[in-house]
Amino acid sequence: MLRTDFIEQLRRRLVELGCPLAPSRRLVQEVADHREDLKQAALSEGLSEVGAETRADVQLGDPLALAEQLLVALRRSSWWGRHCVIGFGVLPVLAVPVLWLALLLLQLSLEFTLGFGWDPKKLHAAAANPVVFRHLVIVIQCADSIAMALVTLLFCWLARRAAVSFKWMATASTICSLYALFVQAIIKPHSFEIGVSWSPHWIRAALPLLIAGAICFFRQRMMQRFQEKVAV
C-alpha cells in the first residue's frame, strides 16, 4: 500500500527538505494510513479501486506542499527549530568555549587517570626529555582537536534533529571554526596554558568546517541513492 506515487513523492520531498529519517518514516506511515482510510471510505461509497485512489489523492492535496507543511510543523515542535537564530547563531558564541574547555579538561583528566596524559609533575619532568615532551604535545593537541570536533558535532546533531536548513549547521560550524582558529591549549616546556593565541591555527580551524561539509556530503549522497532507488 505504501508504494504509490503520492506517498513516494511525499517521502522524496521530505528527504530533499532534510527531514531526519525517523520522523520522516513516521509521517509517511501516518499519511499512508490516512490515505488508505480515505480510499476505504470511497470504496464503501461504490467507487472503483482506481477511482477511490484518485479521490484519496485529491483529498490529500499536493504531496509536495504537504511535505513542506509537515516539515514546518516538525521544526516548530522543537526549541532548536523555533529559535534557529538563538540556537545556532547566538548560543554557540557563548557555549562553544565553555563546552570545548569542559570536554578538553575531561579528556585530560581521563588521560591523567589512565596514566598517559598530563599532570604538572610530568610536565616539568618531560621538559627535560624531548621524546616525552613531544608525546605530551601530541596528546594535548589531539585532546584539543577532539574537544572542538565534539562541540561541532553536537551543534550539527542538534541542527539535523530539529530538521533546520543546512545554513544553520554551517553557521554554528563557522563559529566553532573561528574559536578553533584563535582559542587553543598551548603547551610549552614547563607551562600549559589555555587561551587566545594570535597566531591562527588553520588546520584546527578547518576541522569544524570539514565536519559540516562531510555531513552535507553524506546527506546529498543519501538523497541521491534514495532518488535512484525510487527511479528504479
Binding site: E30, D33, H34, L38, L66, Q69, A73, S77, S78
Partner: protein, 111 residues
C-alpha cells in the same frame, strides 16, 4: 505592528483536537472526520495537515501516541495527557471569554 489576539486566532484547531481527544483516543483520520461531521461541515482540517499538528501537540506533551492494531489495521492512536487536559481547560475558558465578548458586541450592534 501589534499582533491581534494570537491565542484566539491560532488556538481554535488546538481547542478542537484537544476537545475531541478528551472524549476518547483517536487516530488522525477519525479526528478529521469528527471535526467535519460535528461542526456540520462548517470547519474542516485539510486531510494530512492534521499530522503536523498532532506531532506538534505531542512534542508539547499535550497528547501521547501509541501504534496499535485494531481490526487488522495498524494506526497511531492519540490520547490526551494531563498537560493537554490543563491546556484544554485554559483554551475553553479563553474561548468562552472571547465568544461572550463577541456576542455582547453583536447584540449591541443589532439593538
Amino acid at each position: 505592528m501589534k499582533k491581534t489576539n494570537p491565542s484566539f486566532l491560532n488556538g481554535i484547531p488546538e481547542l478542537l483536537v484537544l476537545r475531541l481527544l478528551a472524549r476518547r483516543e483517536m487516530y488522525g483520520y477519525q479526528i478529521v472526520e469528527e471535526i467535519r461531521t460535528q461542526t456540520g461541515e462548517s470547519l474542516s482540517f485539510g486531510e494530512g495537515c492534521i499530522y503536523p499538528y498532532l506531532h506538534y501537540l505531542e512534542a508539547e506533551k499535550q497528547v501521547s501516541s501509541q501504534r496499535r492494531e485494531v481490526a487488522g489495521r495498524n494506526r497511531n492512536y492519540y490520547k490526551l495527557t494531563a498537560r493537554g487536559r490543563k491546556r484544554l481547560d485554559e483554551l475553553t475558558s479563553e474561548w468562552s471569554r472571547v465568544t461572550t465578548g463577541v456576542a455582547l458586541l453583536m447584540g449591541v450592534q443589532h439593538a
